[in-house]
C-alpha cells in the first residue's frame, strides 16, 4: 500500500522548482501555441482528419492541465476527474439541445458545473489523504457514471430521459459564436486553442500566486501549513473546485465536437488514462502533463490500429516511470540544463536501475 502511494507522491516525481515556468519556459510555450496556430490551417488542407485529432489533443491537454493543478501541484491525488469532465460535457449537451447553442452561455455554464461538482466531491474527500483521498474521488466519479448510465436524474424528476442512459445524448449541434461559423472545424480548432492557451496562462498565474504557493506548501508538508496559520481544508476545497472548472470546460469543448455526451466520458478509465498522461508528462509542472496528453492521444491514433496498442502504451509507460520518473518534462528540463551529458545521464539511469533490480547497492 505504501509503495502505491509513494509512486504517486508528487514530491518524488515533480520538478521541485519554486516557480512554475521560467521566462524562457514561457517563451517556449508561447512559441508552441503560435506554431499550433499556424499548423492548424496547414493540417486542414493537407490532412483534414488530423485536425480532428489535434482538437482532441487540445481538449485532453486541458483536462490533464486541470488535473495536474491539484494532483501534481497541490498533491491531491484525484482519481475522479472524469466526474467534472463528464458533468461539464453533459451540462453542455443539455443546454445546447434544450436551450441555446451560444458558446458564450454554454461554456461558462459547463465550467461552473465542473466547479460545483468538484466542490461537492472535494468537500467530502479532502479530510482524507493519499490513497484514501484517491479512492474517495474514484468512488464519487463512479457514482456520477452510474447516475448517467442509469439516467437517475430522469427517474428522480419523473421524466422520460435526461442523460439518455447508456445511449448518451447524441446529435448535439456545434456552438454558435457571434459571427463565427464553428461548424467549420478549423474555427473550432482555433476556439479550443485559444481557450487552452488562456487556461494555461491562468493556471500558471494561479500556481505562482499567494494562493498557489499555499497549495504547493500543502503538497510539501500539510501539517506545517496548518501550524503556520492556513486553513488547509479550505485551500484544498477551493483548489479542487478551480481545477474542476477547467475539467468542466474541457468537457464542454469535447461534447459538441464529438456530437455526443456518453456515460463513458465519466468512466474511471478516463480518470486512469489522465493519471497516465500526468506521469508520462511529468506532474507538478502544469505544461508537462499537457505534453503527456498529446503523446498518449497521438500514439493511440497512430498505433490504435494494432490490436494490442495498450501493450505498447504500457511498455512506454513502464520505461518512462523507471528511467524518467519526472516524465517528459523532467527529460526536457535536464536536456536544457545539461545538454552535453544527456548520454551519460541516460546511461547512469539504466545502470542505477539494473543495480536496484539486482539488489546491490
Amino acid at each position: 500500500m505504501r509503495e502505491i502511494v509513494a509512486m504517486f507522491d508528487p514530491r518524488r516525481t515533480s520538478v521541485g522548482d519554486s516557480q512554475i515556468l521560467t521566462s524562457r519556459g514561457r517563451l517556449a510555450v508561447f512559441g508552441l501555441i503560435v506554431l499550433l496556430g499556424v499548423l492548424g490551417p496547414v493540417v486542414a488542407i493537407v490532412e483534414p482528419y488530423w485536425l480532428y485529432i489535434l482538437v482532441q489533443v487540445l481538449v485532453f491537454a486541458l483536462l490533464a492541465l486541470s488535473l495536474d493543478f491539484v494532483f501534481g501541484y497541490a498533491g491531491l491525488l484525484s482519481f475522479g476527474h472524469a466526474a467534472m469532465f463528464g458533468a461539464g460535457g453533459y451540462s453542455a449537451a443539455l443546454l445546447i439541445t434544450e436551450v441555446t447553442p451560444n458558446a458564450l452561455v454554454v461554456l461558462p455554464v459547463a465550467m461552473l458545473t465542473g466547479v460545483a461538482v468538484a466542490a461537492v466531491i472535494g468537500w467530502f474527500s479532502v479530510r482524507s489523504r493519499g490513497i484514501y483521498f484517491a479512492m474517495l474521488t474514484l468512488a464519487f466519479a463512479q457514482m456520477f457514471y452510474v447516475a448517467a448510465f442509469a439516467d437517475l436524474p430522469a427517474t428522480l424528476l419523473g421524466v422520460e430521459s435526461i442523460t439518455g442512459g447508456d445511449n448518451g445524448i447524441y446529435g448535439i449541434a456545434l456552438y454558435e459564436l457571434i459571427g463565427i461559423d464553428l461548424s467549420d472545424r478549423i474555427n473550432y480548432y482555433f476556439l479550443t486553442l485559444l481557450l487552452v492557451a488562456l487556461s494555461l496562462a491562468f493556471l500558471v498565474r494561479l500556481a505562482n500566486s499567494p494562493f498557489g504557493r499555499v497549495l504547493q506548501g500543502i503538497r510539501e508538508n500539510e501539517e506545517r501549513v496548518a501550524f503556520i496559520g492556513y486553513d488547509v481544508r479550505r485551500y484544498k476545497v477551493v483548489g479542487f473546485a478551480i481545477s474542476g472548472g477547467f475539467a468542466g470546460l474541457a468537457g464542454g469543448l469535447y461534447v459538441p465536437f464529438q456530437s455526443l455526451a456518453h456515460p463513458q466520458f465519466l468512466h474511471w478509465t478516463v480518470s486512469g488514462e489522465l493519471v497516465v498522461m500526468l506521469l508520462l508528462g511529468g506532474m507538478g509542472t502544469l505544461w508537462g502533463p499537457m505534453l503527456g496528453a498529446a503523446s498518449v492521444i497521438i500514439l493511440e491514433e497512430m498505433l490504435g490500429g494494432i490490436a494490442a496498442w495498450e501493450v505498447i502504451l504500457g511498455g512506454i509507460f513502464v520505461v518512462v516511470v523507471i528511467f524518467a520518473p519526472r516524465g517528459l518534462a523532467g527529460v526536457l528540463i535536464s536536456l536544457k540544463e545539461d545538454p552535453r551529458n544527456a548520454l551519460t545521464n541516460a546511461k547512469n539511469a539504466i545502470e542505477n536501475y539494473v543495480r536496484k533490480v539486482r539488489g546491490k547497492s
Binding site: L206, P210, V214, Q216, I228
Partner: protein, 263 residues
C-alpha cells in the same frame, strides 16, 4: 503511586498570565497522557517545561496548538478559550509552535519556507490572492527578510532547505515559527542534538527572541533551563509536580525524586 499533588495549584489569572490551563486531561484510550493539569504561562518571560521522557510535555504543546483536543478541562489564551479550535485559528490568535523534529518544506528554498509563513498574515481568499504574483506581496517578502536576518540565515536564503546544515535547519525551524507572528512561541527542544557551539548560538537566539515574545521551552539540557528560564514547570507521568523559579525547582524534593535523581 502515592504521589502528592502540588499544594494549591495557583492558576488564577493575573494580569501577566498569557495562557492558562484549567484541569486539563488528555486520554488516548486507556492511557492518560495528561492528568488534571492546571498551570499558567506568565507573559513576557521564558517558561521551561521539564520532565523525563513520556512526561507529557509535547502532548501539552499539541493541546495548546490544537493538534489534540483535551478530553476534559479548558485552555485559555488571553482569557479566550482555545481548546477545540482548529490549529490555524490558534495561530491567528498568536500561539505558534516550533517542532522537535525539523518539520518544514524541504524542496523549497530557505527564503520561501519563511515567506510562506509570513504570507499567512497578508493573504486569504481575496481576488488579488489568486491573481497577483507571490513575490509582489511586499509585506510578506519584507517580513521574511527580517526573520531570516534575525535567525542568521540571510546568507543561505536561496539554498534549498534540505541542503542546510543541522544547526541551520534548527534555526529555520525557529524562523518559520517566528514568521507566523507569535505572541506566544512554544519551542520543542530547540537545542536537541546540537554541538556545544551550535547550542550556545541557539541560546543566544532564544534570549534575543524573548526580548519581545513570550516563550515556552521544552528542554532537556538542565544547564540551559536553569540559566535562561524565569519560570519552570515540572511534569512527570502526565502530571504537574512542581512549579517555580529555578532556585525553587533546584531544591524541590519532589523534583529531586522524580527527575533530577538527587543530583
Amino acid at each position: 503511586m502515592n504521589r502528592t499533588k502540588p499544594e494549591t495549584p495557583d492558576s488564577e489569572t493575573t494580569d501577566e498570565t498569557l495562557l492558562r490551563t484549567d484541569d486539563v486531561t488528555k486520554k488516548f484510550g486507556q492511557l492518560t497522557a495528561i492528568n488534571d493539569v492546571s498551570m499558567s504561562i506568565p507573559e513576557g518571560e521564558i517558561t521551561s517545561i521539564i520532565g523525563p521522557n513520556g512526561a507529557g510535555k509535547t502532548t501539552l504543546f499539541n493541546l495548546f496548538t490544537g493538534k489534540y483536543e483535551p478530553t476534559s478541562g479548558q485552555i485559555r489564551f488571553r482569557d479566550e478559550r482555545i481548546d477545540g479550535m482548529a490549529p490555524h485559528d490558534i495561530v491567528d490568535k498568536g500561539v505558534v509552535r516550533s517542532f522537535q523534529i525539523t518539520n518544514f518544506f524541504d524542496d523549497l528554498t530557505t527564503r520561501e519556507n519563511v515567506r510562506l509563513a509570513t504570507q499567512a498574515q497578508y493573504s486569504g481568499f481575496g481576488a488579488s490572492d489568486f491573481l497577483r504574483h507571490y513575490t509582489s506581496l511586499d509585506g510578506a517578502v519584507d517580513d521574511a527578510e527580517a526573520v531570516l536576518e534575525r535567525v542568521h540565515l540571510l546568507d543561505v536564503a536561496d539554498r534549498q532547505a534540505s541542503n542546510l546544515s543541522y544547526g541551520q535547519r534548527r534555526h529555520l525551524e525557529i524562523g518559520i515559527a517566528l514568521a507566523a507572528g507569535p505572541d506566544l512561541l512554544l519551542m520543542d527542544e530547540p537545542t536537541a542534538g546540537m554541538s556545544p557551539e551550535e547550542t550556545l548560538d541557539t541560546v543566544e537566539l532564544i534570549e534575543e527572541i524573548a526580548s519581545d515574545t513570550t516563550l515556552v521551552l521544552i528542554e532537556h539540557d538542565m544547564d540551559i533551563v536553569m540559566d535562561i528560564s524565569e519560570f519552570i514547570v515540572v511534569m512527570n507521568e502526565g502530571e504537574l509536580i512542581a512549579r517555580g523559579d529555578p532556585a525553587e525547582i533546584r531544591t524541590d524534593d519532589r523534583v529531586q525524586r522524580a527527575y533530577l535523581g538527587g543530583e
